[in-house]
């Protein structure tokens, strides 16, 4: 009898029998933590409205995820943090004066179409946050390109009243440069969470420290931008911005540390990852310098997202010992 009770308690599974202490919520929560400096910077530079945009987007994403999973009769996984990240990231790419209802719509599109329609976490092809942003760009082309000065530069008139041009727009349409120092700290007009390179870098380095991102993704992307940007700078320094400007301005930093590095929508093979980041970086510069828009980070990443399945398929690493001849 005693032996029987013991037998009932034996677990039988195939090896390996113990696993790393790691799971999806842990990774996602680390990403949210890493986004805190960028969120703090957005509130510091653009005030209460930035905070509200983040909250509205985050909550809308969570509700959308919950609703989709209920409709699909799937287990509800809103606690894993992935939908919250989508909301936060999308909000960080919005202008400070963007209407809340727009943020809600963008969130619904990002999670509903960008993620759940594909099958939920792990199955989406495009970065959901960027997809939400691109939806808003198409839906509200004026509002999403209406920028305002950061609080420090705005006069008594308040944020909403002062319209301003982003450093990239200044460069592209007026040939004016913004100082590197302002770009680094984030004291410029722009999307609420994209202006401060410093804050994003802090979060990115934290993610690297936790081992959730590979150096080659952000550095490859920024390096590729700097390299191509540098070539044009050398060709005509008065017309084209310098490499440092490229990687500090616009969404380059946020894209490099938080969007290119998105696990689901980036390649898994070492070679595939290199191709992905280098091509995306080059595309961003080309769009910035020669496209109709001043900023190209969003489209560069989304375009390369589409190539990920192809890259995974054709960049398989060589098997151990593959190609070695034995007499």
């Amino acid at each position: 009898m005693e032996e029987k009770t013991q037998l009932e308690k034996l677990v039988v599974s195939s090896s390996p029998h113990f696993l790393r202490d790691e799971n999806i919520p842990k990774i996602m929560h680390a990403v949210i933590l890493a986004l805190l400096p960028a969120m703090a910077a957005s509130v510091y530079f653009f005030g209460f409205r930035a905070l509200m945009l983040i909250i509205v987007s985050g909550v809308s994403c969570l509700i959308t995820e919950y609703a989709c999973q209920k409709i699909r009769k799937k287990p509800v996984t809103i606690r894993d943090g992935s939908a919250a990240i989508t909301g936060i990231l999308m909000a960080l790419t919005l202008p400070p004066s963007f209407p809340y209802y727009g943020a809600v719509l963008g969130s619904i599109f990002a999670v509903g179409v960008g993620k759940q329609l594909f099958g939920g976490i792990g199955y989406n092809i495009f970065n959901p946050a960027l997809l939400g942003r691109v939806f808003l760009q198409a839906t509200y082309p004026v509002m999403i390109t209406t920028w305002s000065e950061p609080l420090s530069k705005a006069t008594k008139a308040g944020v909403d009243a002062v319209s301003a041009a982003t450093p990239l727009a200044l460069m592209k349409f007026e040939g004016k440069w913004t100082s590197h120092l302002d770009l680094f700290f984030g004291n410029t007009p722009g999307s609420i969470g994209e202006t401060s390179a410093l804050a994003i870098l802090m979060g990115g380095l934290y993610l690297r420290y936790r081992g959730y991102i590979n150096w080659k993704m952000p550095l490859g992307y920024l390096g590729s931008m700097a390299f191509l940007g540098g070539i044009f700078y050398l060709i005509n320094p008065s017309k084209y911005p310098d490499p440092l400007f490229h990687i500090l301005a616009g969404g380059a930093m946020l894209g490099a540390w938080f969007m290119v590095t998105d696990m689901v929508t980036s390649p898994v093979t070492p070679l595939g990852q290199w191709i992905f980041v280098i091509c995306a970086g080059a595309l961003a510069v080309i769009i910035r310098l020669f496209g109709g828009l001043p900023e190209g980070v969003m489209y560069s990443i989304l375009l390369m997202n589409a190539f990920v399945p192809l890259l995974n398929k054709h960049t398989r690493p060589r098997f151990f010992g593959e190609g070695i001849k034995v007499e």
């Binding site: 039988v12 029998h17 113990f18 790393r20 929508t265 898994v268 398989r316």
Partner: protein, 439 residues
């Protein structure tokens, strides 16, 4: 100093502190043993005894004429009680001989201890090793005499002794190297002589500095070099070891032999020593009994055929409440037991008991393409993809993506944040391919 190693791999919690400084203890004489007639890769043995026969300790009780096989011996003296199919620690049931002991013990140490290697020929050595039933004691249990008989056209120039013991919890090889370095070395030299190799290496992970010291002391001034290797799983996998020590890559479907080298395990070397010096067949071995579910983790010298239950009772029994997982081997490559009646066999390097949090969850999440599995795979596969192909029986694709290259180390499943049973699915694919190709 850059330590030698291979690419990729993982750093699991090794948990070796539980037993690594505990001296090898002799287990008590079992009153009953169950000796499976197949404990190795190759042809199963036919019983040489029948019910009611009296057998002596070390008497051969199973044999067959095939080349790739190893005879089995009685590990105690006593009477054959029954021959029947019984639970086997590597899964399923195997024809086994049950022997009830008479309580007597044979003294093997009284043999010819002054025996020198020079006085024995290659053929004699191989024959002694075969007759002693020695198999690879790292776990795979491939008959050692077969490894020591490479075909003539294969030029073997290097012999590597595997002292990595990269499997978490296990310390049996470690203790053997620390406590009996001379004997391990002697066994290694005997194997080198059996093949006729001059160059020998002993690969040891750097987390066993006392073992490295002990073997460096006894090999000083000889043609055998101790190589300290980076502590990383699966450093002890044959192909990874060959890559780390002599920088040769053994291609898919080939053996180290094809690249001019032979690899054997520390435990095997010790068994060879005993077989050649004392004419003692492989009837007992050192195992590590460990895990958070064992009250008193130990390194034990156990007779083959002793039941897991008997061994665990000598280590204070199983601790804690709730679910337990009892493994033949360590947590990375061990095999889960359905019953504690299973006997210790030649390939049992340890018994690990996991409980509570150490046991893996049943549920898994979708793959998030985090690429961890690709980054850790020591043979450069894309496990997340192979797992799906195997699970879905897409066998042609499975093969094209290298499913058969997999060495089943389990790094992919270990590292997966979604807890996907990748290796399990890859095994499914491999089994399905084998089934298809048989038909």
């Amino acid at each position: 100093m850059g330590l030698k190693t291979f690419n990729h791999g993982i750093h699991p919690a090794y948990n070796k502190g539980l037993t690594q400084s505990k001296k090898i203890e002799k287990a008590s004489l079992p009153s009953k043993v169950v000796i499976p007639l197949q404990q190795h890769i190759g042809a199963p043995c036919k019983p040489l005894v029948k019910k009611g026969d009296t057998v002596a300790e070390g008497q051969k009780i199973g044999e067959t004429t095939t080349f790739v096989t190893a005879p089995v011996h009685s590990s105690i003296s006593g009477k054959v009680k029954e021959i029947e199919r019984l639970p086997y620690p590597c899964g399923g049931k195997v024809l086994s001989v049950i022997i009830e002991g008479d309580g007597t013990v044979k003294d093997w140490g009284s043999g010819d201890t002054d025996l020198e290697l020079e006085s024995i020929t290659k053929e004699e050595l191989r024959n002694i090793i075969r007759e002693a039933g020695i198999v690879g004691m790292g776990g795979a249990a491939f008959p050692t005499h077969v490894k020591l008989s490479p075909p003539k056209e294969k030029k073997i120039d290097v012999f590597i002794l595997n002292g990595c013991e990269c499997e978490p919890y296990l310390t049996s090889d470690h203790r053997l190297m620390v406590e009996e370095p001379e004997k391990v070395l002697w066994g290694m030299k005997a194997m080198m002589k059996a093949i006729g190799v001059e160059n020998g290496f002993i690969g040891i992970e750097e987390n066993k500095p006392d073992a490295i010291d002990a073997l460096e002391r006894v090999t000083r001034g000889s043609n055998i070099k101790v190589v300290a290797l980076k502590t990383k799983y699966p450093q002890g996998a044959e192909k990874m070891l060959v890559k780390a020590v002599i920088d040769r890559k053994v291609p898919v479907g080939k053996l180290p032999m094809d690249m001019g080298c032979v690899v054997n395990n520390v435990g095997t070397a010790f068994a060879v020593y005993e077989a050649v010096k004392y004419k003692k067949p492989l009837i007992e071995r050192v195992i590590t009994v460990s895990g958070n579910g064992v009250r008193e983790p130990k390194n034990l010298l156990v007779r083959i055929g002793t039941s897991f239950e008997d061994v665990l009772n000598q280590c204070g029994g199983i601790a804690g409440e709730g679910e337990k997982e009892v493994l033949n081997g360590g947590p990375m490559m061990g095999i889960a037991q359905t019953t504690l009646e299973a006997p210790v066999i030649k390939g049992t390097s340890g018994i690990t008991v996991l409980t509570g949090k150490e046991i893996k969850p049943y549920k898994y999440d979708p793959c998030i393409r985090c690429s961890s599995c690709v980054e850790v795979c020591p043979v450069n596969l894309m496990p997340y993809k192979l797992g799906d192909l195997g699970r879905l029986y897409r066998l042609d694709d499975f093969k094209a993506w290298g499913g058969l290259v997999c060495i089943e180390c389990g790094c992919c499943s270990y590292t997966c944040p979604s807890k996907r049973p990748l290796l399990h699915w890859i095994r499914v694919g491999k089994v399905k391919i084998r089934e298809r190709e048989k038909v």
